[in-house]
């Protein structure tokens, strides 16, 4: 003790330690600045189903990307540093590729290890639906399938946001019809049509579906949730699609809408 060597060591430690604390302080200031940017940018980031509120999400998500990997239609992307502290966190761009519930089982939510996408509420609503189903159905019935009501309940439980329609550019509101494939030729997005005639088991490219409508109502007919989410109002000779409380913000209507510029946007859910 007290030799010159340990004194030099201690001095160097103190000197470097001060430097380290200063560096940490700088990182802290930088992080707070980024947090500011993040708050503004986050308004536009549509999180995957089941996301906890944004204040929690920003630390709950460990940026592993498991939700990105499991999504069968590759709807989820990871944000970059231009989105501030959201770097590495998942989001969905519905105009590019909406979440169409193709997986039927909320896989991204179930796979999340930190519950940033919280599966428990989904699980509960699914179990409740099965209970209800069991009251009216007999397990010995050949059509007995608990998966259908469970999946339906879990889908309905999703609350990413709500679709908002700009009636000025909406084709239906202008009384126009629509023929052909809904999006530009280079568009690669996929979805699974809810039309029972097609009986699709897997999602197919949007542009493989050709439509012929006298009055454009793609957003209404292709909605994976159905009547509880969107209906076409035809009162007073005016046609306009109307969003109901059942809307989950999945964004299929955003993706399939043929009008240019974008008519439908998803407003992020604030209550979750």
């Amino acid at each position: 003790m007290g030799t010159s060597k340990t004194n030099i060591n201690r001095r160097q430690f103190l000197k470097n330690g001060t430097l380290a604390v200063a560096a940490l302080g700088a990182v802290g200031v930088g992080a707070n600045y980024l947090k500011h940017i993040t708050k503004v940018k986050n308004e536009n980031l549509l999180r995957p189903p089941g996301a906890v509120n944004e204040d929690e999400f920003i630390y709950a998500c460990i940026k592993c990307g498991l939700c990105v990997q499991i999504c069968p239609i590759e709807a989820i992307e990871l944000a970059d540093i231009s989105d501030g502290l959201s770097y590495g966190t998942p989001f969905i761009d519905p105009r590019k590729q909406a979440c169409d519930f193709s997986c039927d089982a909320m896989q991204c939510v179930e796979t999340c290890p930190t519950a940033a996408l919280d599966f428990i509420p989904f699980k509960k609503s699914g179990e409740k639906a099965i209970e209800e189903y069991d009251k009216t159905h007999n397990p010995s019935d050949p059509d007995y399938n608990i998966f259908i009501p469970q999946s339906k309940a879990m889908k309905a439980h999703t609350d990413m946001g709500t679709a908002v329609i700009n009636l000025k550019t909406c084709l239906a509101a202008q009384g126009k019809g629509f023929t052909g494939s809904p999006r530009e030729d280079s568009f690669t997005g996929v979805y699974r049509s809810p039309n029972p005639k097609r009986q699709e088991r897997k999602a197919t490219p949007v542009n493989e579906h050709a439509f012929k409508r006298d009055l454009c109502d793609l957003c209404v007919t292709e909605c994976p949730i159905g009547d509880s989410a969107i209906v076409m109002d035809t009162e007073d000779g005016k046609n306009m699609p109307r969003i109901l409380d059942g809307c989950t913000g999945c964004g299929v209507c955003v993706m399939i809408c043929p009008s240019i510029p974008d008519t439908i946007v998803i407003e992020k859910s604030k209550t979750v």
């Binding site: 430690f13 470097n16 430097l19 630390y59 940026k63 592993c64 990997q69 970059d80």
Partner: protein
């Protein structure tokens, strides 16, 4: 700081006790005896590249082998968590009450990783898996070359500042309620860039590598990285390490030259060793570079207790 009671060093070896004298060779002849093979390094790089390839391939080809990234993944269905990431998460969670939300898989992943790296020797992660290490290891070679050519000077810091950073990053996470470290963490950034495509933050990695090449050797890994510190705590109690046998050592110190953390090989200097057998400490990454270079086979990668059986 903590004061550990130091053992008295053993008396320095006399000339006739040197391994070369025992074989009747001069020191130079003895050194020429063993060609410098890269056995361990080749194995290590193969493992490192293969594992990172597996991460990439699992996503690209949709294989359920090793999904996720180095911050959190799933190996054949078993969750794995980056330990420092998990610590931060629990730290923030304990403040906000989010802790109760964390899933069982999260804790399974955390403990599986702790158990695995306890068995594998803690910082083994660094040299055998970390993609940033691979870049930095090659940057270090470049740095050494420039130093040798006297183009640049070496700048060193006190290695203990990494503990300040470890505590500091946890505190930062606690006070800002964000995973601050994850935004600048080169391990996660490089890993994510490999798997999900490049990010703008690769510029930060580039800047860091440049700094390490022209200013301070292995700056991030040695003085900052809290992931490494977490793993080095496991290394402290882990049975895996590089074993040093004083009787076979010729004190040429070539091993210290190639070592990525030379302070861990302090006992190879003549007259420093306090025991006949030493094992490397917490910062050793079990990379095997010293094992490859050793002329007398004085250094060996071992599991404690195993050498007694075989």
């Amino acid at each position: 700081m903590i004061h550990i009671k130091k053992l008295q060093p053993l008396p320095a070896k006399r000339r006739e006790e040197m391994p070369n004298s025992k074989l009747g060779l001069t020191f130079k002849e003895w050194k020429a005896n063993k060609p410098n093979k890269h056995k361990w390094r080749n194995k290590r790089w193969a493992v490192l590249l293969f594992m990172n390839f597996l991460f990439w391939a699992s996503f690209f080809f949709d294989l359920s082998v090793l999904e996720g990234s180095l911050s959190g993944s799933r190996f054949f269905g078993i969750y794995l968590m980056d330990p420092f990431n998990a610590l931060q998460e629990m730290f923030v969670g304990s403040r906000t009450g989010y802790f109760a939300m964390l899933t069982t898989n999260f804790f399974i992943g955390f403990f599986v990783i702790l158990m695995f790296y306890f068995l594998m020797g803690g910082r083994t992660f660094c040299s055998w898996l970390c993609p940033y290490h691979f870049l930095a290891e090659n940057a270090e070679k470049l740095h050494n070359y420039f130093v040798k050519k006297k183009k640049i000077k070496e700048h060193t810091y006190d290695i203990r500042i990494k503990y300040i950073f470890w505590i500091g990053f946890l505190l930062l996470a606690f006070f800002t309620k964000t995973l601050v470290f994850e935004t600048i963490n080169p391990v996660g950034i490089v890993s994510r860039s490999i798997i999900y495509g490049p990010s703008l933050l690769l510029l930060w990695i580039l800047a860091l590598l440049l700094f390490e090449i022209v200013y301070s050797k292995r700056f991030w890994c040695r003085y900052v990285c809290p992931i490494g510190v977490t793993y080095s705590a496991l290394k402290k109690v882990s049975p895996v390490g590089v074993k040093f046998d004083l009787s076979k050592c010729g004190h040429c110190r070539d091993c210290q030259d190639v070592c990525l953390v030379p302070h861990e090989l302090w006992f190879v200097k003549r007259g420093e060793a306090t025991k006949e057998i030493h094992t490397t400490g917490a910062d050793c990454t079990n990379c095997g570079l010293c094992v490859d270079v050793c002329y007398g086979d004085a250094l060996k990668l071992t599991i404690k207790g195993f050498d007694k059986i075989t």
